[in-house]
Amino acid sequence: MAQDVERRRRFERLVSEVYAPVQRYLLRRTDPTGADDVLGDVLLVLWRRLDDVPPERPLPWAYGVARGCLANHLRGAARQERLVHRLARERPGADAADDGRLQRALEALPEADQEVLRLWAWEQLPPREIALAMGLTANAVSLRLHRAKRRLKKALTSGKETGPAGHMGMRDGGGARQ
């Protein structure tokens, strides 16, 4: 009984730490209804796997759980693609300064590169924690992040000179994901 109480307390402490950031993580990647559904799944997994949560880095681990739950939710590439386009359209004026270039350049990258960049820029994670969230090695993340930044900068620079059509050549890796 005392063990149950202690476990509940640990779970409550964990949730108080990750609840808001995981919500943001989900809202960045799906619609509000989907985010709420997936959040419930994330909490369920965190409760079940409470003993697996690394105490020194609970948040990136929780992002990793959210990533897995979201993948289940978005199962089916067509659904995911529709959603990405809808989210981009629904973001009112957010990309005004870049005239949509940055968004297009980001979406032209392979999905894993996009996710590495999002976790770096939006969740503000260092490579080691991105590795934890994505189940990659830290080295693979560093390589991917370096390459993705370079590609994004190149796309933005060339976009200034050639206009939006100049980005189309970036879609070199997207074809692997059906």
């Binding site: 949730v15 409760w47 897995g68 590439a77």
Partner: protein
């Protein structure tokens, strides 16, 4: 790549963040949070747990290079390991760093016998299985950066040699730079017959079934 250029890129990406700090979210003290927490704690049957690919608790904390090498060599007798630089056990994070480890595989030298129907049970028995992104490919060799190991190794990079007179297309795989693949190998030789190929949702799902994280 300069730090200030990185900072600028991060700032610009921050401007297209759909849920940045100015977007309100439900706090952990809300009734909704309490409801979701209570619902989670009420679940007792493991049957109801979402089937999720869980993160490892200690990514990047790989075994010392020699231990990884021994384990992988035991699993892949014909594979050749090349350790660049000093073989430091801790990734230094620098692109193209000296501690990158490479696993060398090859395509079969002779055409494969008839393929049997794809079976996850067979996939599960593969000595080597990983997901990787092609960073370079020509007629003689394809190089992939490993995104994830399922079994049989811990290298950062895998090279696949193409024997004379063979092409990856003859295996039903067309390696394209920048694309992601799921690859299996036995005795240092990449398997075709649907056991290696582009990382489609179907193949991802089969690999997840064959090699559960836990």
């Amino acid at each position: 790549m300069s730090e200030s250029a990185d900072d600028e890129l991060r700032t610009r990406l921050g401007r297209i963040d759909p849920a940045g700090p100015d977007v309100p979210v439900d706090p952990a003290t809300s009734p909704r949070a309490a409801e979701l927490m209570e619902r989670a704690m009420q679940q007792t049957s493991t049957d109801e747990e979402p089937d999720v690919d869980l993160p490892r608790s200690r990514p990047g904390r790989r075994p010392a290079w020699w231990a990884a090498g021994i384990a992988a060599v035991a699993a892949v007798a014909a594979a050749v390991f090349v350790f660049g630089g000093s073989g430091s056990p801790v990734p230094n994070g620098s692109p193209g760093g000296d501690d990158t480890t490479t696993l060398a595989l090859s395509l079969p030298a002779t055409p494969e016998a008839r393929c049997r129907a794809f079976d996850v049970a067979v996939l599960r028995t593969m000595q080597v299985a990983f997901e990787g992104t092609v960073t370079a490919t020509d007629g003689e060799q394809t190089t992939l950066t490993v995104d994830r190991w399922f079994t049989g190794g811990d290298a950062d990079r895998v090279t696949i040699d193409v024997p004379d007179g063979r092409t990856s297309e003859s295996l039903g795989i067309e390696f394209r730079s920048g694309a992601r693949y799921l690859v299996t190998a036995t005795d240092g030789t990449v398997n075709g017959c649907g056991y290696s190929g582009p990382a489609t949702a179907e193949l991802e799902s089969a690999f997840a079934d064959a090699f559960p994280r836990r």
